[in-house]
């Protein structure tokens, strides 16, 4: 990065919050602080919802995911449009009619206080940890490749967000997310165009895609019914539906986005905008990863994308092993480039043989990378995040022109800030409205609750930075976030669906069904290896099955069921 890059980076990440602070200057009532005002229109809501879901992991890790495993991850979003329609038709009108600040207030009105607190508690645990991951994930990668100090990177990503989210509440989160998302979309479009432009002229774009497809990178839709296969059409539609329904219907970080402004029409239009644009957006981000994969078939890639870890291993006395692996890798690269040309140029009857050869060489390259990883582990520099998380950032730093590098680093930080702001805003609001107001200070003034919400938002910001400072990731960055969500979302969604659709069920039955469902999902998570998207379905189904059973047995005489 040079001065131009830093100039673009700093100007981009500072200008948007400063504009947001100017737009939200002056004092706000509790309603304005937690829900914004009527000036928030559907475009802002739509971009805000999009930015909250995307986060830095989408833009940093997803191209690397496609580079490594292909674009099949797209199927995880197949349940989302249907879920968004259900949220528009059922959830939003109820929230707007009851004028709730948080989704969990509805559980309190429909059932009782303890069910409201259970929903809010599950949300706080899940989102509190997720907020830490959202900050940590890009910070660990950016600090490694740019040589920044990890703690300072975490504070750069998290500190600024805390300040403006605390000051401006929901309205500033919506306004900043709108412009951050515009910067992100422009940045990613430029990255995509440059990646296509930088592809080898030896192959046409169509031939490039054909070869990528034959190498297993472009299977967007797979109808397999194997439950152990992570990304299929069915797991995406069914598991993805429950994940998205829970996320958009019952996760306060999203509920607060589309309730901003208070208009049913604007909320619905913002969500429908997401139903239409989400899949194409994710497709282009994943396709970018497949294009980078093809770029590195002609341009020599690093033996190991996490270069800082590789260089530390060299310095730790493992240069002979790594140099030998590098020499073999270079040889395989030359052969692989020739094999790709053969696949593209060979007559039809010889293509299969050329393809087999290419697959063999791809396997060899993968084996050499695995051996490199083993050497790195021996050298004591085993990285905390997956190598694929470094693919896109390496491509940015090595192949993009100056200025664009700064813009794309700003894209990653904008995504971090927008997702974190939404989360902190929701964590602060939920703690203030669902816990502080009813349990600690029931009859204080409006102003008192605004101050409390601000203090609690700041406190959650510090918790998130604390978690980020001590986090170490166990799997790919995308996966960590999604797995965490899936473990908790099913039970939360079950509470809401029981409230909407099971008339003859009371708070106590739903509360204990929720606890039982959560225990079941945690048990399955600890003891089985089923695809994580299914936890959403299992957790939700467990609540919906257990609650009526408990109602008819244990709580039959205890409570009188209330209407919806």
């Amino acid at each position: 990065m040079n001065r131009l890059d830093y100039l673009v980076l700093i100007a981009t990440i500072l200008a948007i919050p400063l504009y947001g602070l100017w737009r939200t200057r002056g004092s706000a009532s509790l309603g304005q602080y937690l829900k914004g005002d009527a000036s928030i229109r559907w475009v802002t809501i739509g971009l805000s919802v999009l930015a909250t879901q995307a986060g830095p992991i989408t833009f940093l890790s997803m191209p690397g995911q496609a580079y490594e495993s292909g674009i099949g991850f797209i199927q995880n979003y197949f349940g989302q449009p249907l879920a968004l329609v259900v949220v528009c038709a059922i959830f939003v009108p109820i929230y707007q009619r009851l004028k709730v600040y948080t989704a969990y207030q509805y559980l309190g009105e429909r059932f009782d206080r303890k069910t409201q607190l259970l929903g809010a508690f599950l949300f706080l645990v899940q989102r509190g940890i997720a907020a830490g991951i959202t900050i940590y994930a890009p910070a660990i990668v950016l600090s490694a490749v740019l040589g920044w100090r990890l703690d300072l990177t975490i504070w750069l990503a998290g500190g600024l967000v805390i300040v403006y989210t605390v000051m401006g509440g929901t309205k500033i989160v919506s306004i900043t997310q709108r412009y951050q998302m515009i910067v992100i979309l422009i940045g990613m479009a430029i990255a995509f165009a440059i990646a296509v432009y930088r592809l080898s002229p030896d192959l046409s774009f169509e031939n490039t895609l054909s070869v990528a497809g034959k190498m297993g990178k472009l299977e967007a839709v797979n109808f397999s019914v194997d439950p152990h296969k992570r990304y299929t059409f069915w797991s995406g539609v069914i598991g993805g539906f429950f994940l998205a329904l829970s996320y958009f219907g019952a996760d306060q970080s999203q509920v607060q986005r589309y309730l901003a402004g208070g208009s049913l029409k604007e909320s619905r239009l913002g969500l429908l905008f997401n139903a239409v644009v989400k899949v194409p957006m994710q497709f282009f981000i994943l396709l970018l990863g497949a294009i980078i994969f093809m770029f590195y078939q002609f341009e020599k890639p690093p033996l190991y994308f996490n270069q800082p870890a590789y260089e530390r291993a060299l310095a730790n006395g493992y240069a002979p092993q790594l140099t030998a692996l590098q020499a073999q890798f270079d040889e395989v690269f030359v052969q692989r480039r020739a094999a790709i040309r053969a696949v593209s140029d060979a007559p039809l009857n010889e293509r299969d043989a050329a393809m087999t050869k290419l697959h063999e060489l791809e396997g060899k390259a993968g084996e050499l990378r695995n051996q490199t990883k083993a050497v790195l582990a021996k050298a004591g520099v085993d990285p905390k995040s997956k190598e694929s998380d470094y693919v896109f950032i390496t491509f940015i730093l090595q192949q993009m022109p100056h200025g664009i590098v700064g813009l794309l680093i700003a894209v990653i930080l904008c995504a971090t800030m927008s997702a974190t702001a939404a989360t902190l805003n929701a964590l602060g609001s939920t703690t203030a409205i669902d816990f502080y107001r009813p349990l600690i200070r029931p009859n204080a003034s409006d102003h008192h609750y605004v101050v409390a919400a601000k203090a609690l938002t700041a406190a959650w910001g510090l918790v998130a930075i604390g978690i980020a400072s001590f986090a170490s990731l166990v799997e790919n960055l995308i996966e960590a976030g999604n797995i965490l969500g899936s473990v908790f979302y099913g039970s939360i969604l079950g509470l809401f669906l029981a409230a909407f659709f099971i008339r003859r069920v009371t708070g106590s039955a739903v509360f204990f069904a929720g606890l039982g469902a959560q225990a079941l999902v945690l048990l399955l998570f600890a003891t089985t290896n089923i695809g994580y998207l299914w936890y959403n379905f299992i957790g939700c189904a467990a609540v919906l099955i257990l609650a009526p059973i408990l109602q008819q047995t244990v709580f039959r005489a205890a409570d009188t069921p209330a209407g919806v």
């Binding site: 797209i74 197949f78 449009p81 249907l82 968004l84 329609v85 528009c88 038709a89 895609l209 054909s210 990528a212 497809g213 034959k214 297993g216 472009l218 299977e219 967007a220 839709v221 797979n222 619905r268 429908l272 139903a275 239409v276 899949v279 194409p280 497709f283």
Partner: protein, 39 residues
């Protein structure tokens, strides 16, 4: 009159949901065609 306008509004929202889901269905078909073409 009020009930009539509510009905009309509900109908127009149902159309909007149908449109969104139709567009999504087209997206999935295009992705499947893409998969068949390049895999």
């Amino acid at each position: 009159m009020n009930a009539l306008s509510e009905d009309a509004e509900a109908r127009s929202w149902r159309k909007a949901y149908g449109l969104a889901l139709s567009l999504f269905a087209v997206e999935v078909v295009l992705l499947y065609v893409f998969t068949l073409r390049f895999s």
